[in-house]
Amino acid sequence: MASNATTYKDLTPAAPLDKKTLNKMVWRSCQLQASFNYERMQAAGWLWGILPGLQKIHTNKEDLAASMEHNLEFFNTHPFLVTFVMGIVLSLEQQKADINTIRSVRVAAMGPLGGIGDALFWFALVPITAGITCNMAIEGSWLGPILYFIICFGVEMALRYGLMYWSYNLGTSAIATLTKNAKEFTRAASMLGVFVVGALTCNYANVSLGMMIPNGTAINEAGETVANYIDVQGLLNGVLPAALSLAITLLCYWLIKKKNWSATKCILLLLVIGIVGCVFGIFGGAAGEYTTPISVPWHA
């Protein structure tokens, strides 16, 4: 769980990161999703990726701990573009920027890059390359898979490498003017971060109720009596789209902030809610239909 430190103890900017370290982190970025999980997504892979840099930057052990802690928070972006976030975050770490600023910049960058990357790579590069190469493979030629690998992996690595340097230098050159007005900058960055998290709460919403309450019969426009169902999720959408996602976020926020729950405890709670909910047919099945172990009227 993240500590509450908001500034590093040692505020002397560290030496710029050398090429070797940057390169090492480019390679490490390939394991961004090593321990992907539902709670923090790529957090641990992200931290592992920038660890070589952080270790160089924070010689003070307490600071390293603080930095590692906040870099273990929820993280998700497109894997091929992650080094862009790395570069800019490392430039801020190096300057010992306010932790809140670093966090906000990280959050603000990851969301949009995720969307862009999905559209560019998962929905364009990969399908296009597949279109070009699959028939070769089907016709029995090894050229298919080899071309496929070279094109996709080539683009990927070029991006990982290029973005790291570009964004690290970008960050380094921008930071001087920003630290002069650090307090104002932190606030502005927080606004952006919080705004993006609000957007993520709506956009990454991934839970829905599946209850279809059989609701007697209804008389339709043609005057016929027809079986009728109440779609609970549909009603909820009428009140507020993504309402459940907002509610769960606020619930967890409240548990963590006011009741001092750990994130793990929240996860266990959600695990119980999820499974018990499906036992009673309350949630919709993300991957198709499921059968409830006990029979409930609202689950066909």
């Binding site: 394991q31 090593a34 321990s35 992907f36 999980n37 539902y38 923090r40 957090a43 592992w48 701990a65 802690e69 273990l72 929820f74 998700n76 959050v107 603000a108 949009p112 862009i116 990969v126 399908p127 279109g131 699959c134 070769m136 493979a137 089907i138 090894w142 007005n181 104002e184 502005a188 927080s190 952006l192 971060g193 919080v194 705004f195 993006v196 998290v197 609000g198 957007a199 993520l200 709506c202 956009n203 991934n206 789209p241 993504a242 996602s245 976020t249 606020l250 963590i256 750990s262 994130a263 793990t264 996860i267 999820g274 499974i275 909910g277 036992v279 949630f283 099945g285 991957a287 059968t291």
Partner: protein
């Protein structure tokens, strides 16, 4: 021997689907390799090319898990080469394995959520190798689960497929439950972020971000670009706030010094 090589290759591909190259694991690349191991690369190429085209519209986005491309392809090749099924039938019979691949991923992602506490501890102790370990554990679990299933398919063949189908129908509620829980867990991540960033005067901004995404994400033409357009608006808000606060700070000074422009 074949079984061992198959296990090793599957282990690697399982990890590769999220880490390493994220390309090697694609059916078009992985299947021919499996074919090579089983002694029939040509069949591997055909199955791989065919399956790649089927999976191309099914990329994992935002952490969502479609039926698994790794296991479906590998088992497809196994069934095509060993059982001698034609491509389409082999892939059809392999569907149940791609579902179990998806279950394995769901389970790992759920389990690794719990493991984050370990990572937190390592972070609090400034212990890099703790982080390394967490990542390695995750990769091993995923690899092992997949390797086991591939080997099982190697020996069990179609019969195993039918058993699994039965199992999958009986416990569909459990998988659905894990899926539902998985879908909610990212909200814990958001809550942790908010815990720290959300000062009292930013509640409105949080809700406004939510509202902006609610429109942008639900208009066809902007839904793909929802997050980047949200960021555009967010950047406007942030820069504006920065500028105003700077002015307030500076003018306070100018008031103090008795020098003020334009008054």
């Amino acid at each position: 021997m074949q079984a061992i090589l198959l296990a090793i290759a599957t282990f690697i591909f399982a990890i590769d689907q999220f880490s390493l190259t994220e390309i090697l694991y694609r059916p078009i690349v992985a299947c021919p390799i499996i074919g090579l191991i089983l002694g029939d690369p040509q069949t591997g190429l055909v199955v791989g090319g065919t399956y790649e085209l089927m999976m191309v519209g099914n990329m994992p986005v935002g952490g969502a898990q479609p039926p698994n491309a790794v296991l479906g392809g590998i088992v497809g090749v196994v069934l095509a080469v060993n059982v001698g099924l034609p491509t389409e039938q082999a892939l059809g019979a392999a569907v149940i394995f791609s579902l179990f691949g998806q279950y394995a991923v769901t389970l790992t992602f759920t389990f690794m959520s719990g493991m984050m506490a370990k990572a937190d501890k390592a972070a609090a102790e400034a212990n890099p190798s703790g982080i390394t370990m967490v990542n390695n554990i995750a990769m091993c679990i995923l690899g092992a689960l997949f390797a086991a299933m591939a080997v099982a398919a190697y020996f069990g063949g179609q019969a195993l497929g039918e058993t699994l189908t039965k199992f999958s129908e009986d416990f569909s509620w459990l998988m659905a439950g894990l899926g539902a829980a998985g879908g909610m867990m990212r909200n814990v991540g958001f809550a942790v972020l908010l815990k720290i960033m959300l000062s009292n005067d930013l509640w409105g901004i949080f809700l406004a971000g939510f509202a902006a995404a609610a429109v942008l994400g639900n208009v066809d033409a902007t839904s793909g670009a929802a997050l980047i357009l949200t960021a555009f608006i967010g950047v406007a808000i942030a820069i504006n706030d920065f500028t105003l606060n700077l002015k307030i700070k500076e003018n306070a000074g100018s008031g103090n010094g008795g020098v003020s422009d334009g008054i």
